[in-house]
C-alpha cells in the first residue's frame, strides 16, 4: 500500500478554561488517500470543524494542539509560518460554509482570485486576470469577463460559493477541505454546487475532505466516512458500511432519526449532546445510548476493528 496523502495521527486539541485545559478533540486519527472523497460527519459541537482547521493549521493561537498531521509525509504541525504559506492555497485549500464572510467585501472577486496566482505562481497581473477568467468559467459562472469586476455583494449565494471554489482549486491543490460548503444554500443550488465539486474533483484528480452534518451528502458522494461525536471519531468505514451495517449506537441513532416516508415513526436519539466540561466518564455516548451496560461507564472504549476498513468505538459493536 502506498502512502496516504494525508494522515492525521492522534490529534488532540484543548482550550484553556479557568486555567485548566479543556480537551475538545481527543485522539483523532484518520487518513485520506489520493483522489479520495472523504467525509467527516457530526452534529454541531462534535469537533469536525476544529479537526479541519488543524489540518490547515488555522487554529487560534490559544488552542493547545498535539499529535501529527502528515501531508505527503511531512508534519504540518511542525512547519514554520513561511513554509505553511507555501502549502496553504497551493497544496491544500479550503472552502468555508458562509461565502459572504470568507470573501473580502471591499475587493472585486477578480482581484481576490488573482491574488492566489500572484502569491503562488510567478504570473504577471495580466496573466493572472486571464487565468481568473478561465477559472470562473470552469466553475460555470456566466460572462466571467464582467463578473471579475464585481464585488461579493453583487453575487448570489450560489455564485459566491462558486467563487470560493474557484479560489480553492486555482493552483490545482492535491487536497481540498470543504467545511459545510452547501449548508447556507437552497436545495437546487446545493445540487449545482455538489455536482460541480464532484466533477472538478474527478477532472483535477484532487482529494476532498468534506465536512457536513447531512447524511444525504454522505450517501450520495462519500468514499469513506468518519463519524464524530464529542471530539472523537466514534465510527469510520466506507460509505456503504455506514448505511448498511452501522456498528456504533450513535451512527445507528443518527440514521434512525432521519425523516422516513409517511407513517413510519421516527426514533430520535434521546437527550442532547453533553457539554465538553460535563462529559461522562467512560464512553461519551452513555448518556444517550440505548445499548448501555455497566462496563460502558468504566473506561472509554478504543476504536476497534469490526470489519474490513471498518472501525467502531463501542464495546458492543458486534452485538448491536
Amino acid at each position: 500500500m502506498h502512502d496516504p496523502l494525508l494522515s492525521v495521527k492522534d490529534l488532540n486539541i484543548s482550550f484553556d478554561q479557568d486555567k485548566r485545559p479543556l480537551k475538545i478533540i481527543d485522539g483523532v486519527s484518520f487518513q485520506i488517500g489520493r483522489e479520495d472523497f472523504s467525509v467527516v460527519v457530526g452534529e454541531s459541537g462534535s469537533g469536525k470543524t476544529l479537526t479541519a482547521l488543524s489540518i490547515m493549521r488555522l487554529l487560534p493561537p490559544y488552542a493547545g494542539c498535539s499529535g501529527k498531521v502528515l501531508f505527503n509525509g511531512e508534519d504540518i504541525l511542525s512547519k514554520k509560518p513561511e513554509e505553511l504559506r507555501q502549502i496553504r492555497g497551493r497544496d491544500i485549500s479550503m472552502v468555508f460554509q458562509e461565502p459572504m464572510t470568507s470573501l473580502n467585501p471591499v475587493f472585486t472577486i477578480g482581484y481576490q482570485i488573482a491574488e492566489v496566482f500572484l502569491a503562488h505562481e510567478k504570473l504577471s497581473k495580466k496573466e493572472a486576470t486571464e487565468r481568473s477568467i478561465e477559472l470562473l468559467r470552469s466553475v460555470r459562472i456566466p460572462s466571467p469577463e464582467l463578473r471579475i469586476r464585481e464585488y461579493p455583494h453583487q453575487l448570489s449565494g450560489g455564485m459566491r460559493q462558486r467563487v470560493m471554489i474557484a479560489m480553492a482549486i486555482a493552483c490545482k491543490p492535491s487536497l481540498v477541505i470543504a467545511d459545510e460548503p452547501t449548508t447556507a444554500l437552497d436545495v437546487t443550488i446545493q445540487a449545482q454546487i455538489l455536482e460541480l465539486i464532484g466533477s472538478l474533483r474527478e477532472k483535477e484528480k484532487m482529494s476532498l475532505l468534506l465536512i457536513t452534518h447531512d447524511l444525504g451528502i454522505v450517501a450520495e458522494w462519500a468514499d469513506s466516512v468518519e463519524v464524530m461525536y464529542t471530539g472523537r471519531i466514534v465510527e469510520k468505514a466506507r460509505a456503504g458500511d455506514i448505511f448498511l451495517n452501522p456498528r456504533h449506537p450513535y451512527t445507528i441513532g443518527l440514521l434512525e432519526s432521519l425523516p422516513k416516508r409517511k407513517g413510519q415513526k421516527l426514533i430520535p436519539i434521546p437527550g442532547q449532546v453533553p457539554k465538553f466540561d460535563e462529559l461522562p466518564a467512560g464512553c461519551k455516548f452513555t448518556t444517550r445510548c440505548r445499548y448501555v451496560i455497566n462496563e460502558c461507564h468504566l473506561r472509554e472504549p478504543d476504536l476497534i476493528q469490526v470489519g474490513e476498513a471498518h472501525f467502531s468505538r463501542c464495546i458492543r459493536a458486534m452485538e448491536i
Binding site: E43, S44, P142, S156, G158, M159, D186, V187, T188, I189, Q190, A191, Q192, L194, E195, H213, D214, L215, G216, I217, V218, A219, E220, A239, G240, I242, F243, L244, G253, L254, L255, E256, S257, L258, P259, K260, R261, K262, Q264, K265, L266, I267, P268, I269, P270, Q272, V273
Partner: protein
C-alpha cells in the same frame, strides 16, 4: 360506496370535513426603490381542513414565510381574503381578532430569538393564559407545568431563563407557549432548521403526537423536503410568490407534475445508500421577485420549456383530481 375499492376513500372524506382556513387570491406587495414592487406573495389560494397538516415548501425568498405571517395578520395583505374558522382575518378587530389569536398560533425558526431573554419560562408560557383569561392566579403555574410536561420539559424549568436551555428544549418551550391558548391551528415556520439532526426527530415526533392527540391543524413551512414528506398530508410548492403545484403529499412525491417540483425532488439528498438517482440540475439562480420573468416565472430555469412558456402565464388549474398545477404541460 363503503365496499368500493376505488381510489383512496380518505380523499373523499376530507371533502366533508370542515375547512378551517381559506385563503383566496392573497397578495402581498412591498414597495421597493425606484418605484418598483416586490411581489412576495402573488395571488395565492388554498384551504386547510381541520386537523390537516399542510406543508408549504420552496426555496428562500419564494414567499412562504410571508404567507405564514399574512395568515396570522403579522402583515396586512395587499389584496385577497383570509378566512379562519369563519372569521375574516383581514377585517377582524378587537374581540374577533383575539379569537383568531387564540385559534391560530405560530412557532418560529429560531427559538432563542422568539423567547424574551429576560422572562422566566413560567412568565413566557403563562402570559398567553393570563391575557386570554384562560386561568388565573395560582392556577397559572399548575397549567404551565402541565403544558411543559406535554412537550417533554420538566417543571424545574418554570423559574429558569431561555439561555439555560438547549436549542431543542427552547423549541419545545415555544411549542408549549403556542399550545397554551388551546389553538386549532399552528403555523410552524421552519421549526427544525436551527436544530441538529438528532434533535429534529424529537421535535417532529412531538408535533406529530400533538397533531394526533388534539386534532391540531398545521401549516408546516419548510425547505426540508424529507420532513415535509414525512409529516404533511397536503403540500403546496411555492416559487417566486406563487403556488406552482398543490397536491396530496403522497401523490406529489410519487409523481410530481410541475417541472420545478420534479427538480426539487430529484435534488433531495436522500440518506439511503445505493445507486445514484439522476438529478435535474437547474440552471442559474432564482430570479429576483422584483423583476419576475414574463410568461411562466419558472421558464428561464425550466428543463421542459417549450414555445408558449416565455410569453404566456400558465393558468393555475386542477390538472388531475385534487392536484393543482400551473404549467403549460398540464
Amino acid at each position: 360506496m363503503a365496499l368500493s375499492l376505488g381510489p383512496c376513500p380518505l380523499l373523499l372524506d376530507t371533502k366533508n370535513m370542515n375547512e378551517l382556513l381559506r385563503i383566496e387570491n392573497v397578495k402581498k406587495y412591498f414597495p421597493v426603490r425606484d418605484k418598483k414592487v416586490l411581489k412576495a406573495v402573488d395571488d395565492v389560494t388554498l384551504g386547510v381542513q381541520e386537523a390537516e397538516v399542510f406543508g408549504l415548501v420552496g426555496e428562500s425568498g419564494c414567499g412562504k414565510s410571508t404567507l405564514g405571517k399574512l395568515i396570522l395578520k403579522l402583515f396586512e395583505p395587499t389584496g385577497g381574503s383570509i378566512l379562519f374558522d369563519g372569521i375574516d382575518v383581514v377585517k377582524a378587530r378587537g374581540r374577533e381578532m383575539s379569537l383568531v389569536r387564540k385559534g391560530l398560533q405560530i412557532i418560529f425558526q429560531d427559538p432563542l430569538a422568539s423567547l424574551n431573554p429576560r422572562m422566566k419560562i413560567l412568565d413566557a408560557v403563562g402570559e398567553g393564559l393570563i391575557v386570554n383569561n384562560i386561568v388565573k392566579g395560582k392556577d397559572v403555574k399548575e397549567k404551565v407545568a402541565a403544558l411543559l410536561e406535554k412537550v417533554g420539559i420538566s417543571s424545574d424549568a418554570l423559574g429558569k431563563y431561555p439561555h439555560e436551555f438547549s436549542g431543542g428544549q427552547r423549541q419545545r418551550i415555544c411549542i408549549a407557549r403556542a399550545l397554551a391558548v388551546n389553538p386549532k391551528m399552528i403555523v410552524a415556520d421552519e421549526p427544525l432548521s436551527a436544530l441538529d439532526v438528532s434533535i429534529q426527530a424529537q421535535i417532529i415526533n412531538l408535533l406529530e403526537e400533538l397533531q394526533k392527540d388534539s386534532g391540531l391543524a398545521f401549516m408546516f413551512i419548510s425547505h426540508n423536503l424529507l420532513a415535509i414528506e414525512h409529516f404533511c398530508d397536503t403540500v403546496a410548492v411555492m416559487y417566486l410568490g406563487k403556488i406552482v403545484e398543490m397536491s396530496p403529499a403522497a401523490e406529489l412525491f410519487s409523481e410530481p407534475l410541475h417541472p420545478y417540483t420534479e427538480a426539487l425532488l430529484s435534488d433531495v439528498l436522500r440518506p439511503e445508500f445505493g445507486e445514484k438517482r439522476g438529478k435535474i440540475i437547474l440552471r442559474g439562480d432564482v430570479p429576483s421577485p422584483i423583476s419576475v420573468p414574463p410568461g411562466c416565472p419558472f421558464h428561464p430555469r425550466c428543463h421542459k420549456k417549450f414555445e408558449p412558456c416565455d410569453t404566456l402565464v400558465p393558468v393555475y388549474r386542477e390538472a388531475k383530481k385534487g392536484r393543482w398545477v400551473s404549467c403549460h404541460l398540464w
